[in-house]
């Protein structure tokens, strides 16, 4: 074990790591990375921010292991539990967008005319039309489960038939959905940035239940002594400042704004 540690240290020393001091690690949801948000805002921040984009469920687990300094995800209840259990300093609203239901243009379940998301999901279940679920405990997956519950449907009974759990990230799930002509729930930012849409399009949107709030939490040094406290505080502070909020608002793709800042001013 000691020999392995020594070898790893040597290897670490031998490798050039850029600006190894002063960086922080952000455990993040994938939609922010896939839609290019970090590429757009981090140069305006200036400090070195290393983003590990893995999906909300895994990001929270990694942060619980103290493997990050800041958590940026979209599952409010899980974020509040993270803080309540002592892993996070405080949770802040950062920005929002919304979820959309996408599906094949020929819309076999006829969800396009549905009055709300409940009716749309009920139509899919009634038609037993294929639906690709993340199935990975991500923020989007948690939202999707809540929406099914809200519509009074338990899709688990049909898992493996029309309800298909991919156990994969948002992009991989969209690849599967477009490949098999399935419906899927996705955040709007990932969908706008996604380049393999095929003949899939947004079929249901705009329901208040589809609101998608992103939050940011600095990891608690009392629980994780190795956390880079100053760097984490500086980055969270910047994100919530008018400057950071403006950077988020300015990120556009194909002429559309992807995230809408809503931090509770200073």
């Amino acid at each position: 074990m000691r020999a392995l540690s020594a070898a790893l240290c040597l290897a670490a020393l031998a490798l050039p790591v850029r600006a190894s001091d002063g960086f922080i690690v952000v455990q993040s949801t994938t939609s922010t990375q896939n839609s290019g948000l970090y590429d757009a805002i981090l140069p305006r921040y200036g400090g070195e921010v290393r983003v590990v984009a893995v999906g909300t469920g895994q990001a929270i687990r990694n942060a619980r292991n103290c493997d990050g300094d800041v958590l940026l995800v979209h599952a409010r209840e899980a974020e509040e539990a993270f803080v309540a259990e002592g892993y996070g300093v405080a949770r802040h609203d950062l920005m929002y967008n919304d979820f959309v239901l996408v599906g094949p243009a020929n819309d076999p379940a006829g969800v396009a005319g549905a009055a709300d998301i409940d009716a749309a999901l009920s139509a899919i279940a009634a038609a037993r039309a294929p639906f690709a679920s993340r199935g990975d405990d991500s923020g989007t997956h948690k939202k999707e489960r809540a929406l099914w519950a809200g519509a009074g449907i338990d899709p688990d009974e049909d898992s493996g038939t029309w309800y298909r759990e991919t156990g994969s990230g948002m992009g991989a799930t969209l690849n599967i959905a477009t490949g098999m002509g399935a419906y899927a729930l996705t955040d709007r930012a990932t969908w706008i940035a996604y380049r393999n849409k095929g003949d899939h399009r947004i079929l249901a949107e705009g329901d208040a239940a589809l609101f998608n709030q992103y939050g940011v939490v600095a990891v608690n040094p009392a629980r994780c002594p190795a956390v880079r406290v100053d760097g984490a505080r500086a980055f969270v502070g910047w994100l919530l400042s008018s400057e950071g909020q403006a950077a988020i608002a300015d990120h556009r793709l194909d002429g559309q704004q992807l995230f809408f800042p809503n931090a509770a001013g200073e």
Binding site: M1, L4, S5, A7, L8, C9, A11, A12, L15, V17, R18, V25, T30, Q33, N34, Y38, D39, R50, V51, V52, A53, V54, N62, R64, N65, C66, D67, G169, M170, G171, A172, L174, N175, A193, Y194, R195, N196, K197, G198, C224, A226
Partner: protein
């Protein structure tokens, strides 16, 4: 639908303008996978020779284990290394998670069984051939291993290349312990996975083609070196 034509165009475009990000990613891929392969050879060659020549209890079981570990899923290796290097793990204080060193450690673990198992077979075959000669010379086990490893050096390059192929191609382990961090731990395979998840299939496939070209070049180099060495040996 994005087709192979788009992929070829993407690959050609990336190479033709020597895209700075691509150069960085290719450089890190080579750095990580070549280092891991060299470390794995440093461990795997002697380990394979010991398994081939040594006589000790449990040798058969160990051989079966090493052979079985060739099928180790990269994701499992990634998880094991993650649990070791996580701040919450036994080696967390080193702060190596999400660094190239962590990726090298994971790939070394992946490649050692391949190199060791192939080395064992090569050395065992040579040993069967030269056993009497070496014994008549009164060579001890250590000297026999050294002699046989040296004698089998041409075949052993294939073992090393097989290991390097595994290291360059795997994505599961480096994704978990490296984190696919832009400019820090992003390598060819994790970049391909990211572009696939963005639906940029042509770009992902283009990166895959660059990886194949790289692999071809490395194998051609090794083949050239082997042929040169063989010619020298017969001259």
């Amino acid at each position: 639908m994005q087709g192979f034509g788009d992929a070829f165009a993407a690959a050609f475009g990336l190479i033709a303008r020597l895209d700075a990000d691509l150069v960085e990613i290719v450089g890190l891929s080579l750095q990580v996978s070549l280092t891991a392969t060299l470390l794995a050879c440093a461990i795997g060659f002697p380990l394979g020779a010991v398994l081939a020549v040594g006589r000790f209890p449990g040798r058969g079981a160990l051989t079966v284990l090493v052979n079985a570990l060739m099928g180790l899923p990269p994701v499992v290796v990634g998880l094991v290394v993650y649990l070791m290097l996580s701040r919450a793990g036994p080696l967390g204080a080193l702060g190596l998670l999400y660094t190239p060193a962590a990726m090298i450690a994971a790939q070394t673990l992946l490649v050692v069984p391949i190199v060791a198992a192939l080395t064992r077979q090569i050395v065992a075959d040579l040993d069967a051939e030269y056993h009497e000669t070496l014994r008549s010379m009164g060579a001890g086990a250590g000297a026999r291993m050294r002699t046989l490893l040296w004698d089998g050096r041409l075949a052993l390059t294939t073992a090393g290349l097989a290991g390097m192929g595994r290291a360059l191609a795997e994505v599961g382990a480096v994704m978990i312990v490296g984190g696919n961090i832009d400019h820090v731990t992003r390598v060819m395979t994790t970049a391909i996975a990211l572009e696939t998840s963005r639906g940029e299939l042509a770009l992902a496939l283009g990166l895959g083609m660059v990886l194949m070209v790289l692999s071809l070049a490395l194998n051609a180099l090794a083949m050239g070196a082997r042929m040169g060495a063989a010619r020298m040996a017969h001259a």
